[in-house]
Amino acid sequence: MANPLKCDLCSKPATVHLTQILDNKVHKVDLCEECAQAKGVTDPSGFSLADLLLKASLNPDPSSGGIRCEQCGFSPADFKKQGRFGCPACYGAFKGLLDPMLDGMHKGTVHSGKIPRRALERKSLYDKLTKLEGDLTEAIKAERYEDAARCRDEINQVRQAVDQKPAR
């Protein structure tokens, strides 16, 4: 996977990587800062890896184990129960669960119908924003402060254009 490791408990990026050997078996756990704090990983005496491993093994689907939608907290288990997703962002979060499902469900797997014009406008603005922010970081790193200032001005302009769109 190209993605950075995700926390085994929530789906935030993992920053704490723990390896323990118990009964001659290697156990690895990846956690984000918050979960690491909450589970007492930073306090060796109060921390039980076995607890965490048990939780992970409770999830019936190992491929999507422990993943939750960052937007709405929905889990694959919820989908199994309801047959509906939690929010639009779930489609990104549970791509692995969705793709096999889409095979054979529809005529194709790629949309070829109506496109909301405003959604596209918005998307192109956001793409531009992301690119400019990348440029800005690079310029600052390279100490090209004139470029950085220009990027910042452009970012402000794009942000204004986004804000001018009517509120939902």
Partner: protein
């Protein structure tokens, strides 16, 4: 507009039944839309649902299509009112039983209804009498584009419009036709038709959608898939299937007349007799009798102008509408008596059947 005045006004469905709608009674298109960044109705918290409903309602009431329309939340509706709206296909059974924070906006002519916080944030629906897929699409496309000016719809370039259930992804469009197919039912060919239609990626349901029976020989045929094809392609495919079902029904009618017109006329004549004189009629018996009268109109046994009467009665013989017409006390046990009474009075002045016309194959 108030709910009372809506109920006392004929709906799009009960209106304008011309000979053009002989077999296809009504065309309907619905679009599923959701607001980006918001949880779907089934997962949203009550406060979120309320907020989404307010935003959607405001956007809808600002459109020209909904000018002087009706906006109500499900909580404001009584059981009887909900039932009547379901019988008119203006809301779904699912919405009528739903939680706080859902509602519906209905256009003044009752051709458009938009359910808010049903399975998706918005279920936009447009009805047209007769076989009008293209016109219906043009009108609903227009309304959808107007809404898009003020609402941010959840959309992905790959998956199209994002819906609570993956079966609606892509266009989020379900187009359907309500068809009256008595000859195919009499000739026992419906099962074959259903199988063939399923193989073409279309679904057949009864008059009131999923799980309802096909009393009155009325069926809804709609597209099953929504992703991978454009709206136009789906409509073209559906249109072709509908066209061929119409042909099959016409052929079945011709064959019934040719093989045993006496038997067919007997059915129509008896239906007329029962409707004129019966005293206890269940909903499904009434539907089947009305269906035969409608077939009689198509065959020229009754004047063309009477088609709108049968179409109106299809709706008005439903429990909710009967109860409303009765005003006041209503015992469920008396419903079938009341229905028969209602139909007797309607058919007291109905044209007498003339079985000579159709001998020339006039339809």
């Amino acid at each position: 507009m108030t709910i009372e005045s809506l109920i006392d006004t004929p709906s799009e469905l009960t209106d304008s039944a011309s000979s053009k709608s002989a077999i296809v009674l009504m065309t309907r298109i619905r679009l599923a839309r959701n607001i980006s960044g918001q949880p779907f109705p089934g997962w949203a918290k009550p406060a979120q649902r309320e907020k989404i409903m307010e935003a959607c309602r405001a956007a809808l009431m600002a459109t020209p299509a909904m000018k002087r329309g009706l906006a109500v939340s499900v909580g404001e509706l009584g059981e009887l009112e909900k039932r009547i709206l379901v019988e008119r296909h203006l809301i779904s059974r699912e919405l009528s039983g739903s939680k706080q924070g859902s509602g519906v906006v209905i256009s003044r002519d009752q051709a458009i209804s938009v359910m808010i916080n049903e399975e998706d944030h918005l279920r936009i629906q447009l009805m047209r009498a007769g076989f009008q897929l293209r016109k219906a699409w043009a009108a609903i496309d227009d309304l959808d584009s107007t809404l898009e000016e003020t609402l941010d719809f959840a959309f992905s370039p790959d998956l199209g419009y994002l819906t609570a259930c993956p079966t609606n992804l892509g266009t989020g469009m379900r187009a359907s036709a309500m068809m009256h197919l008595p000859a195919l039912v009499i000739a026992n060919q419906m099962e074959k038709v259903v199988r063939a239609v399923n193989q073409l990626g279309m679904v057949v349901r009864g008059l009131f959608g999923e799980g309802s029976d096909a009393s009155g020989s009325i069926f809804q045929i709609s597209n099953q898939t929504t992703l991978g094809e454009s709206e136009e392609e789906i409509l073209k495919r559906l249109s072709g299937v509908l066209q061929s079902i119409v042909e099959h029904e016409m052929n079945a009618r011709a064959r019934l007349l040719e093989a045993d017109s006496g038997k067919l006329f007997d059915k129509i004549g008896r239906a007329f007799g029962i409707l004129q004189n019966g005293h206890v009629l269940s909903s499904s018996e009434a539907m089947n009798l009305l269906s035969l009268i409608r077939l009689g109109v198509d065959l020229g046994v009754f004047p063309d102008s009477k088609r709108s009467v049968t179409d109106r009665l299809f709706i008005e013989a439903q429990p909710g509408h009967l109860q409303h017409a009765q005003k006041g006390e209503f015992e469920p046990g008396k419903r079938d008596l009341l229905r028969a009474e209602r139909l007797r009075s309607e058919f007291a002045n109905f044209a007498r059947p003339d079985f000579t016309l159709s001998a020339n194959g006039n339809n």
